[in-house]
Symmetry: C2
Amino acid sequence: MANDTRERLLEASARLFREQGYAGTGLKQITAAGGAPWGSLYHFFPGGKEQLGVEAIAHSGARYERLFELTFARADADVVRCVRDFFQLSVDALERSGWGDGCPIATVALEVASTSEPLRHACAEVFASWEAVFARRLAGAGLAEERAADLATYALAAFEGAIVLSRAAHDTRPLRVTADVVAGTLTSALAG
Amino acid sequence: MANDTRERLLEASARLFREQGYAGTGLKQITAAGGAPWGSLYHFFPGGKEQLGVEAIAHSGARYERLFELTFARADADVVRCVRDFFQLSVDALERSGWGDGCPIATVALEVASTSEPLRHACAEVFASWEAVFARRLAGAGLAEERAADLATYALAAFEGAIVLSRAAHDTRPLRVTADVVAGTLTSALAG
DNA sequence: GTCATATTAGATAGATCGATCTAGCCTTGG
DNA sequence: CCAAGGCTAGATCGATCTATCTAATATGAC
């Protein structure tokens, strides 16, 4: 086989959508960034931009899910420490990328929440999968399932919002501050 | 005078940017929605789409700042109750609007964080003004200024992120759950 | 080697984008 | 009543957008 054109298109799409949003990214730009010929785009994604968007979201969603699991699987760290690590990952990524590398889903999610049902649904599924990873870990730390699910939603919300503020301010302070408070909240919840 | 064309253009821009983002909204669509003639757009906003975007963000940012102040000025409610009220406002707005009426800034903020410096700066200023309102109220409730500022950032982050999740899921649960946890965290912080 | 299929190549269509331009209307001050 | 300028009206430009189309080229099975 050895043809990774389709993969490269997905990677380029994911990166560009993350940095400039769905509507702000043109298909020409995607093929250029992915080093892929224009003709290949509609060969691999006959559904056009929307199909490409849905698959790109699922693609980077799955990649981040693995990153979540990796971060939360560390046996030598408690769950609060894992959450801190995860915030720190985003701090580093934002600084390294010049504030481009935030959440791969959130930008598109907000754009399409009331304009494209397939894209919106893809985003919702990704968020749900991330929450599930976190909730499982919290439940494993002794919380009741419902409580674990609520705290997972809460932590993800705080994380996503902190990225919004940090990217807008070009300053990682919102992420760092939010990480501290969320860590405190989770510590209390696990102790109580 | 009695000419509110400029105002109508700003209102329409703010609403459309909030619902579909900056890149996803065309100037033609804005003039149509605002019932304004095409020629007026460049008369009032010679800087084109970017100027319109900056002013629309400042416009709705200021409006929400007043809403923040109104919500937080209630003398008969403690600050935690005010925060709950604010989350509830968003719950109602999302349900009423069919998931379109979320944060007026966040969508654009994510889109332009690394593509347009003027727009990014406008978003950052709006977020800072909101934080300031909240921080002032927290400081008034007895917290040290630095601590109040941190908790204000945290609460705003949680709020913004919860809107992202709720809009994506077409479900107000993330907002309701996050409101509960944030309220608990603030209660502890004020008591401690 | 040959045929079928997978992939690449890029021209092109038709719509829409942001922006500019000129002409004319309408209000207001004198 | 008459100018001056704020405002409206909309044609139009070049660029870009998504999508489709036809050919050419590579690749793999037999």
